[in-house]
Amino acid sequence: MSEQLLETIDLVKRFPIKRGFLGRPGATITAVDRVSLTIGQGETLGLVGESGCGKSTLGLTLMRLYEPTSGRVLFAGHDLTALKGEQFQRLRPQLQMIFQDPFASVDPRLTVEQIIREPLDIHQVGSMADRRKQVRHLADLVRLPTNALRRYPSEFSGGQQQRIGIARALALRPKLLICDEPVSSLDVSVQAQILNLLRDLQDEFQLSYLFISHNIAVTAFMSRQIGVMYLGRLVELGPAKAIVTEPRHPYTQALLRAVPEPDPARPKRLREMTGDVPSLIARPTGCPFHPRCPLAQAICTVEEPQLRTIAPDHQAACHFA
């Protein structure tokens, strides 16, 4: 277990959904509900869940692209949530992000060179000549063709656009990279290239990743640890292999059963889980999963289970795990 780089403590993010009367806060939804997790130096924490579970919001809140409603984020010894203005800006370069839709995340009117160089320009790193050199170096790292720098993002395929995004994110030599569904919009063959690239970069630069995805298999490949989210809560947290081979929370079990395996020889599993993806607005009482849970009992409707350790390094939030 390596040194800890990032820790969140009871992180909460709420959004208002109805304007209250005369400016008072009205009803809110809790997108991230008291999430506590840690990411080690040079390691990857994967975060999986379906729509509305809050994983993307968590990533954005960690970076304070959304301001946390409450809770703390400790990063490399600093309390990110307490820092203001100038002090926080100085730490910004160490936390970077890559996004799901690589084309939407770049300015289509800038050349690739300008896109990758932008973070260096903003933080005024070195001279222009230094920056240009750094950009060329970064383009090599992500295996972009040499003539790519002069061109515009629209001339590239999805996979290459994602490489541009990665190069840009690495420009300031971050310690932590938040990857928000980075391969979800890519074809399988290209996906494999990008995932390999991310792994290589992690090995070379001792990067830490928060890898957010709805695809468990991809996340298991990338991560040492996996956290499973449901309706804003972290319901299970443990080593990737354990999560995938011995899931303890009923939701994780259902999620794994639901993934279609490309192996026709395996018997087709019957999936008992019914019901729809939950709405954040009509939040169930007690355990958020109880309306769809095959193990649900009376206590589940009343008392919300907390994460508790059920095996070494493995926690689940269930009364019956």
Binding site: Q160, A192, N196, N215, E261, P264, V277
Partner: protein
């Protein structure tokens, strides 16, 4: 088992400023009654265009330029691609139904769900409003919409994505079609909901004996539900056969590479195997095999010879001269 649909040399092209896009190139396949055929491939391979071509839903600047699609209706066999508009309208929604990828935009937002489910019944079966309504309730219940009777008057935006897709399935099933074409029916849905929809389709196939063409990029879904699979690349079918066969011993380098590149839940390599290069440019029509630039088993002949889709094992065809040659060497 009777052949339900026999497609030969289907070719669809799009005329754009830069030239002609060969979206579907000499595609041939057959599907039996009650069979589930999966068409799999990555974006741009032509799988969706194939499906839309069969139903003649391709709009300008696309055109079906060649091929036949012999479909066995109750009393005779017709060529879908040359039918008159009115005869085609008799078949659409009635004997062949289609489910589309995006349930949010595939339903009319200002008409009630009840109306849209009843529409094919009134159109093709001549049912009265009342009778169609009764049937609609039954259909919605069958696809798993709770409280169906009360939801007839609701609008699509009042349903979740998974529910909307179930409604689309109900619409497709309404006239008990012989064939349902599902174009990426679960791509826009969450994994757990996707599983429910796939299970539903399997049940309905068992219950009604409907043949199913399911189009997807997800080989896992193919493994779950398809009997036969056709792998497409650059507008052509490069491998086709029984699902177990294809997965157990894929013969085409692309199929093998695709299977190898998928991260699995069962083993964790250090690196994923990849396919080098980028997807093909459909504007060009290379004389040889379209996969050649990215293939790790290519030989010089691959650049000049367009490989035909031919049997290599029982119930297993492949379009690759190297695979065929290797097989011949072992026989």
């Amino acid at each position: 088992m009777k052949t339900l649909l026999d497609v030969t040399h289907l070719t669809t092209q799009f005329q754009v400023d830069e030239g002609i896009i060969h979206a579907v190139d000499q595609v041939s396949f057959a599907i039996q009654e009650g069979e589930v055929l999966g068409i799999v491939g990555e974006s741009g391979c032509g799988k969706s265009v194939t499906a839309l071509s069969l139903m003649r839903l391709i709009a300008e600047p696309g055109r079906i330029v060649a091929g036949t699609a012999q479909f066995a209706t109750d009393n005779k066999v017709v060529d879908l691609l040359t039918l008159s508009q009115s005869a085609l309208a008799q078949i659409r929604g009635n004997e062949i139904a289609m489910i589309f990828q995006d349930p949010m935009t595939s339903l009319n937002p200002v008409l009630t769900i009840g109306y849209q489910v009843a529409e094919p019944l009134k159109l093709h079966r001549g049912l009265s409003d009342r009778a169609a309504r009764e049937q609609a309730i039954q259909l919605l219940e069958r696809v798993g919409i709770p409280d169906a009777a009360n939801r007839l008057g609701d609008y699509p935006h009042q349903f979740s994505g998974g529910m909307r897709q179930r409604v689309m399935i109900a619409v497709a099933l309404s006239c008990r079609p012989k064939l349902i074409i599902a174009d990426e029916p679960t791509t826009a849905l969450d994994v757990t909901i996707q599983a429910q929809i796939i299970d539903l389709l399997r049940e309905l196939r068992d219950e009604f004996g409907t043949a199913l063409i399911i189009i997807t990029h997800d080989l896992g879904i193919i493994a779950e539900i398809a009997d036969t699979v056709a792998v497409m690349y650059a507008g052509r079918i490069v491998e086709m056969g029984k699902v177990r066969e294809i997965f157990a011993r894929p013969q085409h380098p692309y199929t093998a590479a695709l299977l190898a590149a998928i991260p699995r839940l069962t083993h964790w390599p250090e690196r994923l195997s990849t396919i080098e290069g980028a997807p093909p440019n459909l504007l060009a029509e290379p004389p040889g095999c379209p996969f050649e630039p990215r293939c790790n088993r290519r030989i010089p002949a691959c650049r000049t010879t367009s490989p035909p889709l031919e049997p290599i094992f029982p119930e297993h065809q492949v379009a690759c001269i190297v695979a065929q040659a290797e097989r011949a060497a072992h026989v």
